[in-house]
Structure formats: C-alpha cells, structure tokens
Amino acid sequence: MTVGVLVFPGSNCDWDTVHALEDLKTECRTIWYTETDLRGLDRVILPGGFAYGDYLRSGALAAHAPVMAALERRVAETALPVLGICNGFQILCERGLLPGALRNNASGQFRCSLETVRVTAAHPLFPGLAAGTLLRLPIAHHEGSYTVPPGGLGALFEQQQVFLQYADADGVVQAYANPNGSVANIAGVSRGSVVGLMPHPERAMESYLGSADGRRLLSSWLEGGMRHGA
C-alpha cells in the first residue's frame, strides 16, 4: 500500500507525517501541489501547516491547487480514503469535500495543548475505534473553531458525520473541554471516504512525546477498508 502526502508551499507537518508513516512501516510518497496524476496511491494525507501562508483564509488558496482537482476525481470515482489533518482539514472544507468550515479560535489566539477527544461515530475506515473511544491528541492551531451553516448540525450527527469531539478527561463532552469554540465540541468530521480532524495524530506516536494515541488512530486508518461508494 502507498500513501501519498500532499505538499503545498508552506506545508510544515509534511515530514512529521512521513516520519509517522515510516514508523508504521508504510510506504509513502510526497506529492507536490502541481501534480495531477495520483495513480498508484491507495490513500492520501493532507498534512498540517500554513499552505501559501494562509494570509487569505486557512486553506482557501490550497483548495484550488491542481492536485486538489485530481484528488476530488479519485474520491468520486474510487472512494479514495483521504485524511486531512489541521490545515489539511481546512483545505478539505474549503474544497467542499467535507461539510462545514473552520474559523478563528474563540480566544482569538493560537493554541497548542494536549486534548482528549472522543470518537462520536465509528467510521469504517477506522476499525477498532468504536464510538466512545477516548484519545489524547495534541492540537496546534489558530483557526480550529468548527462551524456549520444554521440548521446543519442535526444532519451532521444523524448522518454519522461527526467523527471526533473534544471531551474532558472522563470522556464527557463539556463546554469547558472545548479548546477553540467549535460548535458541539467538534474536532473531526467525515463524509464518505474523506475524514478531517484538527488534532495532530502524527505528533502523538510515542508516549515520550506526550501520547501514543496518534499511532493508534493512524494504524487503524491504515488497516481500515472502505467499500466502494460507502
């Protein structure tokens, strides 16, 4: 299996992601944003960073990069599993591959911390991560406040598209456990084979880095299968 890691000018978590995949003995290849041929890739990760400096709005320019059109085709035609992390999540929302959008943190400040997230809806791409599973994962972002248009939240939950929510240490989704003002504490969402999350699993590969739960999440994603069109 080969995982493609998309790299935009200004991506800065690309090597962390490559290292994490190497630690998991997975073959991977970095894909520069101008590439349009994604053949031979079985999965794609959009890593974190500040693509194009994010001076306009996080992910807004990257969403229109040539590689994104090719990615969109592969998702539509072959249900290619795609994982967007932090800036990658923002890009997927801007491209319309995921519902909703990410706005400035409620504090107006960048925030770097270790958070607990709870799996809200089990996803076929993540075997072994049952609903209710708790993970400790680092966040580091300025625009991580997830939002959906008015009235859209109910549908998101009904369609099992809410993947992760920020929770307290006991796994209860509480207002005070919300680090960035996301609606309903949402930390990650999915649509079909596309999943996005603000926390950085690639930074949580070893307990000596603060948590090894990112290893668990990524291993599960690498194992997970997806029926065509699911």
Binding site: P9, G10, Q109, C112, A140, R203, E206, Y208, L209, G210
Partner: protein, 724 residues
Amino acid sequence: MEPSAVGLTEAEYQTIADLLGRQPNDLELGLFGVLWSEHCSYKSSKTLLGWLPHEGPAVVQGPGENAGVVRLNDAWDIAFKVESHNHPSYVEPVQGAATGVGGIIRDIVAMGARPLALADSLRFGLDAASRHLLAGVVTGIGQYGNAIGIPTVTGEASFGHSYRKNPLVNVLCLGIRPTGRTIGAGGARPGDQLILLGQKTGRDGIHGASLLASQDFGAEAETMRPTVQVGDPFMGKLLMEATLAAVASGRLSAVQDLGAAGLTSSIAELCYRSGAGADLWLDRVPCRETGMTPYDIMLSETQERMLLVAAVGEVDDLRRLVDHFEIPFTVIGQVVATDRLTVWFHGERAAEVAPSYLAGACPRRPLAAELSTAVRQPVAADPSPIPLTFEPDWLLQVLAAPDCRDREAIYRQYDSTIQTNTTQGPGHDAAVLRVRGSAEGICLAVSGPGRWAARDAYAGGAGAVSRVIRQLATQAASPLGLTDGINAGNPDRPQEFRALAALLAGIADAARALDTPVTGGNVSLHNETDGEAIWPTAVIGGVGRHFRPLQPYRDAFLRVGERVYLINPDPAPNLGGSVLAGLLGNLGSYPRPDLPRDAACYRFLAEMLRAGIVTASRSVGDGGVLTAIARMAMDSPSRLGVRLFLPADGLGARGFGEGSGQVVVTVGDGERLEGDADRAGVRVLEMGIVVADAAVSLEAGHSYRWDISRLRRAWRGVPGEGEA
C-alpha cells in the same frame, strides 16, 4: 549629507575620510553609517566581549560567524544563537517580534543547520501599555515560529519598571547540521557569483540598524515605525528550504543572510571574512517598487533574503534546484580578489570602498586599564535585606508575583510540538529534544535575570550563567556551550558602560568557572528612554548533551516517603535581588555566586541523577526555595504534598532567598545522598518528606500549611489570591 544623518560622529567621519583619502559620497557615507553603527560594529562592546572564554572541547565554531557551533556527537553539530529585537518590538510589537524570530532563524540556516527549536526571553514593564506590548510580542513570535514550523520549546518572562519604555525581546534559535559541514560566510573565492535569493527588495527598514537600534529612544519613538520591517513566514519557510537544499547539494562556497543593514552588511561581512572583495551590480536586484536608488537598495532591510555564493559553473544547477521553491534567484555580483567593494548602477560606479574598512576598521571604544579589576570589586555596601519575621502569605504573594506566575498563557500560543522532537517542552527548568537516529539528545535552557543585576551587574551576569548551567544540571546534561544576549543602556554614559563591563565580567568569570565556553551572541545597547536605562540584562542560553532524551529527569513529587533535600544550601541566606525583596520594597544586591561551590554542586547533581539516587530536582530561582518546592507539589501527577521541618531562625531568607547554586531534590535514600555529598565536598540540607496530603506544610517554631489548590490559584493569577 551630514554625518549625523546616518548616525556617525564628526570624529568617525574624519576617520573615514582619512581611510579613503577623500570625502565619501552620500552612498559611501550611508554604508559606513550602518556598518559603523553600534548594532553592526559592536564598537562599544567588542573589547569587553574579548573577556569571554570561547574555547572548549565541543566547540566547532566560536564567535565571528552567524552562529556558534558545538559538537553533539559523531553525527551532528548544533548551531545556536540568541538575538534581540528590542527597539522594533517597542515601536511595532507584532511585526518587530516576528521579524526578530525570522532574523535569528536565518542566522542558523546560514550555518547550513536545520532549525529544530526556538526559545524566548521577554522583559516588560508592569503598566497597562506594557501588557499590550507583551500581548503583541507573543502574537508576533507565535505568528512567525508557528507558521514556519519551528517549535518554541522553552522560554521565560520577567517584569520591572525599567523595561516600561524599553521592553526586551530576545529569541534563541537552535539547529543541527551533519558533522563535517563547514559552510559559513568565509568561503567566498574570487570569481564566485553572488546570488540574491528570496523576497524582492523594497524601501522597508532603511536605517533600522543605525538609527532605530543604535540610539536611545526619546519622544520621537512613534515616528520610527517606518523603520520596522514586516515579516513573511511563508516566504521565510520557502527561503529556509531552498537554502538548506542548496547547502546540501554541496554547490555553494559560502552563505550569508541579510539582516540588519541588509545587502550592505551581508556583502561587507562576506568579503571581509573571506578576505576578498566584490563587484555588485545593483540594477539587477529585483525591487518591489520602481525608482529605488542605490542608497535605498543597499540599506533596505527587507526580510526573507539570503546571499548564496557559488562558482560560475554551479549557478545553473543551483537555479534549477531552487526553482522548485518558486522564489526569486538573481545573480547580482561577483567576488574579486582585492579588498574593494564596487557598487555599480546602470554602468556607473556608485560607490567604491574596501570591505575591510566597512567591516573591520570601526574605531572601538577605548577601555580604561583598570576597568577589568574595578568592575570585579564588590559594590558599595548595600544592606542585604534579612527579614526578622515570617509571614505565611508571602508564599502566595510570591507565587502570584509577575516574575513567578504560571506562563501557560504565553507558551500555549506557541507551537511546542511540531517536528515531533520535544520530549520536555515549556513549563520546566529546561527543554529536552530527541535527535532522530541518535542516542544523545539536546537540552536547552534560557535565563536572563535582570533583577539580579539591578544593583550589582557582576553578580547578575555570573548568576545568569550559573542559573543556566544549573538548569542543564537538573537534566544531568553536559554543558556544550553558551550564547549571550546582552541588553544594556547607553554606553556613552559612564555608569551604564561600567554596568555593561561588570555584566560581561560576571559572565566571563562564571563561564570559566563552570567550564562552558560562549560561542556567540548579540549585544543590544541604548535600551534607554529619556535618560532612564533598563536593568542590565544578560539573556544566557545554554545547550547541553542529554544522555536519555526519551526519559527526561523529573521535577515533581512522585512517591510518598521520599526525602526532600536542598543541595548546596546558601550558607548565609538573604533576600538580595529576590522576588520577595522586591515585593517588600527593598530589592538589595543579589549575592555574588560562589562559583567553585556552584560548579561542584552541578557536577554532583548530574552524577546523583544518573545514578538514580536523586529522583526529581528543581533549580532554585525566582521566588527561592519555597517556590521551587511549591512548584514540585503543584506539578505532582499523583497530587502529593510535602511536610517540611526548618529552623525558625532566618526562615524568610532561607525560604525566599535566591542565592546561586541551590537545587531542591527528592531521594529514596537520604543516607546515601548524605554520604556521597560528604565525599564530593558538597553540603546538603534535609528539609522534609513527601506526603500523600495535597498541601505544603511547614514546622518552623510555628506550624504553617498551604493547600496546593490555593497555591495553584495564586500561581495561576486567580484574582484575590496572593495579592499583596
């Protein structure tokens, strides 16, 4: 043009005319103006910096290059340096701080090293305007560091009225490069091409170095805003990757970044260090606006630019390599064998001067012969405050004091986990980084206690160095090198110059006694507004080799029943220079460190940690012994507390004095520690025992007790707790 318009004195102007054998034209005068500024020439401090020890077994590159380099192991060298961006941060806090971060990162990249970590040291006043400046500076540091993808892994902040109009923003960057890589500014050879890489040149920051950074502030500070540059971390990231790729290709002879004084400084330093000259074709420099004059182009401080130097035959391959990053790459000149820099503009000779005059001939401030001895003399008797009573509220007040308070509100705004090497981040005495593929890791500490230098700059300088080595010792790390960020007032005023000299004498003596060389740094003078100077402040960064980076040594109470000791207790504790003394309104002089005693203590501590006898330790610093103990309790993962037994006599000074060289430790086997300490000639004082009760309790004639929850509220700045 008048000499004063470029910041030069009449005497300096005359020296220049003598060197040239003619009057300089306006452009030449401008070149001398920036390079002979205090900021670029170090004319007031260079002789004093000669006092510092620069040699050591780990030193690969000492001062004189863009950054110092020390050897970590057979595979990796570490490049590191601290730099200040004080004046710009006062004038425009967000961009001033952001460009400071960008500048120090480029220094590390110019050494061919990939930046792994940043650390910040901040000094601000206590008024509302200062809080606003601090918020802006923290935003700026985060904005640049977070976006370029370099973690800020440790730092410190401290406060005092003297910083009100002169805040200090010092940032350290550390990077690694493979051993054997020797790229720097000294390798240019005649015939080599000068390649300008990065941002197009604009009219920003002209005279930033000579006028903004090298003069005192007065009422006109507001009008200085146009001299501040704007940072672009996105371009910075592309420039960093392109430069590192070019270095790794082996096609470069030299690299020099463009920082203060832009192209002028970059070319002059490169030529001077390479023993060469250059022809510069200024009309080829890509500019952001039309109509820029040679003067504008030479003095612009536009950020995110780098000068690459390569043989003619390498240029096309380099261009192909760099094209991937989509940034401008332009040949703007070539190296010549003689000591002359000729600036050409559309075929006209716009200036011609010797690089050695620009970069090496600035007259230095003469030193009085007895200065070196004089500044080491004890300062005039300043009564050392020794409180006769002990007030239990002092502990809450000290924890809530601006200099001791929890720093999470700052460091949470910095990405500390990117690059996935941080095994111990902010909130501890020192940061610990792993290095992929190496057993050894890196330990990094930074400290700049201005309060300790307020009355006795020598004590402050020595105390700062000792504190950094102590912080490395709490990780049992072997010190490899130091970087010094010197911040002081106007050197033209005798008392400020003397304080600067005393500060450096203290640093020099401590670095020698603690056997750690200073491999580079930065001097920022003229931190003075309307005649009021800052406390002389030495921001010291220390880098050590960590032997088990995946398991940093602990700094909290871990097991009930363990004994709590103070290693190297101050034999005559007093409150001089301490946080509590400041709160009580009589700061006093910081006690001069007993350096041989400190050295023995740190060697002993490292040994005891590695042997597993000491199970956790914390350096005594701001807030003294009781503050260190409170921190160990507040950080206890299993909510343990401590029961202390101390003599009632002198309790206030023992508990809150900040005398050098002290470390609080926990041990499972107290007799073993005492025996080993005895053999090592180190004094230890048993203070108490770790208990399951979540409180700090103290028997000292009276019984005192502080609940940890209450201590934590004070430390976190919850209103109503610990307010004096």
